[in-house]
Symmetry: C2
Subunit: 526 residues, 2 copies
């Protein structure tokens, strides 16, 4: 199998990038270019006239997609092939079936593994529907604390914050994730535990932070004279140490074919989100994600197009970071979710055959919402030394219809005007005789524009990025579904904890520092 740099399309792209298109050319932006550089699907438009691409570059990029068999790989992923693997070396060897979690509607998968997974998910959804109705009848809980970290935190939290106006009255979510005791203490200060449900999420049932925080919450429940078994729900893998229904009010399953960062539409997110927005809105999230899953199997689909432009920026324009800037308050924590999704998936330096790569893979993904970020780090994006590609996300309409006209326009118009202005300013730049007022332009960016943030479009957006990341992984030929890079830190932390535990009679851990931790590690070579 050819390596990335040997691909014919890569060589063509390397030749095309020698003279990238100049976005500061005022003749460039014709209605024709703008129209040609737009693609639409599942309620979203992708506007990319402000990227440093020509139709020739786009053709070469789709050639790259063909050369790397991305459609076949996406198909196999959704059918349940064991694509989470490194050939010739010990690795996870698992299917990657987060799509099965929402394969509950039309055009269901027929491949056995995918169908089995989808049926398992269906059973959990039915259990959840029943459980939520039961809660509604009892009306005992006004608050829910999700205890989880990584994918059991970032995705569900980002989704919840995206749907606040869709939440049912007196169905609030809170999150405890960090092992820092200040995290749990602060949340436990603000809720009435008597009326609080706790959902503990750990696929392995062994996550240090999560188990510790579960004990933290249990001890608080006991202190208040409450019975943990009447408050705590487990979401875990079958036969994990947490798979013990006798200890929990309810138990739901997740499986090793759904990775943490892809688990928001599994029970890792569904239990809490279902509580907050209700079961039917939850199903709308799944329906939107499923619509994007189906779309991702079609020719020249939207997540693939976005993936390819990202590869142009990363591997040919050599830009090492990507800023994701949603002009939508609802998406306030979506960049944090994308950070995990993208960087944990494609932050890899060996390919699927275990060879060190000699090309760039996953970039640093970071960002905050607009217009706030205009008043923060946009200075550097406009006038810093390095171009930063920007992915804007926006919606034509606000979630809440209440808006106010100030100086002849409403707030939503001001939001959209700022979004478009940034996109144009970054591309076109500005000349000036005052060097400090010069904007070089040629800052590549694109806009993903939806109609309104609602449960369906949120599901579609979530899946859009899941598939964008998967397509990039397919093209770079890395395994986007494991995370070996988190292991070493865990092992070393365990050894330092042993030190703390052993020495605590002599002095508290707060008196240790890096030096003593180091000596401990050095004394016990691996």
């Amino acid at each position: 199998m050819k390596s990335f740099l040997q691909l014919k399309s890569v060589q063509q792209l390397q030749s095309l990038v020698k003279q990238p298109i100049d976005l500061t050319n005022s003749d460039l932006f014709t209605p024709k270019r703008i129209e040609a550089m737009r693609a639409s699907a599942v309620g979203f438009d992708l506007l990319y006239a402000t990227e440093r691409v020509t139709s020739q570059v786009i053709e070469a990029l789709f050639h790259l997609a063909d050369e790397t068999n991305v459609y076949e790989k996406m198909g196999k992923m959704q059918e349940g092939e064991e694509i989470n693997a490194i050939e010739g070396f010990e690795s996870e060897r698992r299917s990657v079936l987060h799509t099965a979690m929402r394969d509950q509607f039309d055009h269901r998968q027929t491949a056995t593994k995918a169908l089995d997974a989808s049926n398992l998910a269906k059973k959990e959804l039915q259990k959840l529907e029943k459980f939520l109705s039961h809660l509604d009848r009892e009306n005992r809980f006004t608050d829910l604390i999700q205890v989880g970290i990584g994918g059991s935190d970032l995705g569900p939290r980002a989704l919840y914050l995206s749907l606040l106006p869709y939440c049912r009255p007196n169905h609030r979510l809170h999150f405890i994730s960090n092992v820092d005791p200040d995290d749990a203490n602060e949340i436990l200060r603000t809720v009435d535990l008597k009326k609080t449900l706790i959902v503990v999420v750990s696929k392995s049932g062994t996550t240090l932070e999560t188990l510790t925080n579960e004990e933290f919450v249990r001890s608080h429940l006991l202190k208040k004279g409450l019975n943990p078994k009447e408050h705590i729900i487990a979401v875990t893998g079958e036969k994990s140490p947490m798979d013990d229904p006798s200890r929990y009010l309810a138990s739901f399953y997740i499986w090793d074919f759904v990775g943490g960062r892809y688990s928001a539409t599994s029970m890792a997110g569904a239990v809490s989100l279902g509580f907050a927005v209700g079961f039917s809105s939850l199903m709308e999230i799944l329906r939107g994600a499923h619509a994007m899953d189906l779309h991702a199997k079609t020719e020249r689909n939207l997540p693939l197009l976005s993936a390819l432009i990202g590869i142009w920026n990363r591997n040919f324009l050599h830009l090492p970071t990507v800023a994701v800037i949603p002009y939508s308050q609802a998406l306030i924590r979506f960049p944090a979710h994308l950070q995990q999704l993208d960087m944990e998936s494609n932050g890899k330096r060996v390919d699927k055959m275990g060879r060190s790569v000699d090309y760039a893979t996953g970039p640093v993904v970071w960002g905050e919402i607009g217009t706030n970020s205009q008043h923060s780090f946009f200075q550097l994006i406009h006038q810093g030394v390095d171009p930063i590609p920007v992915e804007f996300i926006a919606f034509r309409k606000s979630q809440d219809p209440h808006d106010l006209e100030v100086k002849a326009t409403i707030s939503q118009e001001k939001l959209l005007a700022n979004l478009f202005a940034q996109s144009i300013a970054l591309a076109v730049g500005q000349k000036s005789t005052n060097p400090n007022k010069v904007f070089l332009g040629n800052r590549p960016n694109r806009v993903l524009l939806g109609d309104r943030m609602d449960p369906f479009s949120l599901g579609a957006l979530l899946a859009f990025y899941e598939h964008k990341v998967a397509f990039q992984g397919f093209i770079w030929n890395v395994n986007s579904f494991d995370q070996e890079g988190v292991q070493l830190g865990k092992v070393l932390a365990g050894r330092i904890l042993d030190l703390f535990a052993a020495e605590r009679l002599h002095k508290p851990a707060s008196e240790f520092d890096l030096g003593e931790a180091f000596l401990r590690i050095l004394k016990e070579p691996q």
Copy 2:
């Protein structure tokens, strides 16, 4: 004046970087190295044995500091010289006196401008103390909404979230910043306006988002039959359009010698923080910042050392981003504040004489708290293709003394063990016959370690980063105190808003898109 690349120390550093020290060498980490690579001041230790530096590199870096006269520049800044300027071109020509805001204790500045500024600040602090006592006696307000964006939002919000356990009961803060109407609507849904104070912050009194949101809140107050004048406080510049005490319950001043991103210790942050934590804790924040201000004028001070190591990573190891990872739940939004502080200050490509720079300046600064980020993007930091320098921040003790022993250690010990383990793992790496389990190591990182996050240490930490950023700007010879890069987007947004306003009889803005915005800009060339 010599340009950066012509400096003797820069040439020496370029020679030293040809053979950077190998952190994966197991003989390297002796107690001697660890002890030599530690510096302490104002309650913080900076541990940097895990950076790719030798004592020779550190000496050359301090030589760079001398060659660029950083002590003199820091002195002049704190004395009030007009360092916010570009020589030979129209520019702001202002003093930079955020340090005067907290120069209320010992060793006060004697230079006229600095003393005047400090006295102005003192007057506002006295007004605030009186006003807060008055509020305490009235006991009318339980909630406060800060309306502001950029520096009037990120710094105060980060500081508030850092001090939650220090907040007085029934003194909650909320923030409305974004022009997205969903931001204001969500906050206004959750507070009882009758018991809510509103602090509107805009130095110019013309910030689009802030004025719009002020009107938004005013209309809500009126709808509830409440008198805006009894609820809204103005924080603005003298003679700004908002400087109209007849419209506000109270008014406080900020000045053009305090930049937005440096304004958290001015009235832009002090009014809200004072309400939340009380006046005496507010003064402790200022006292901590002042202690660091004084320290920043001493030889080889801590912020300077951190600035220099950052320059080593940026200009010599050529690493384009910096991850700031606080292992402290209290610092959950501190990276967002640092993003503005650093990137808006040093995201510049012309120097103070208006020359285009031919060297790297401000990096992309991004980050989230640990241990959460270990379960998110640390995969890429450990095993991605590009090294990412990491700045860890941590405290020996948790804020809340309630902690729980699980498996022989308490949560705070687990937090610190993970911090040290990450620092070591990034530096030292791991060999393996399985390529997917290889960690290359040599990922530079350092740890800023304090005792406990409290008002004093928070103030010191805030000022530590303000001065780190200033020192880097001094060395790169850029103006860290203007933000011309935000202007172009504002102008273009205004034009698109005109389009929306003019066309709204024909169709709503939600039916426009980038194409029509573009045509508008193209039709009206600058």
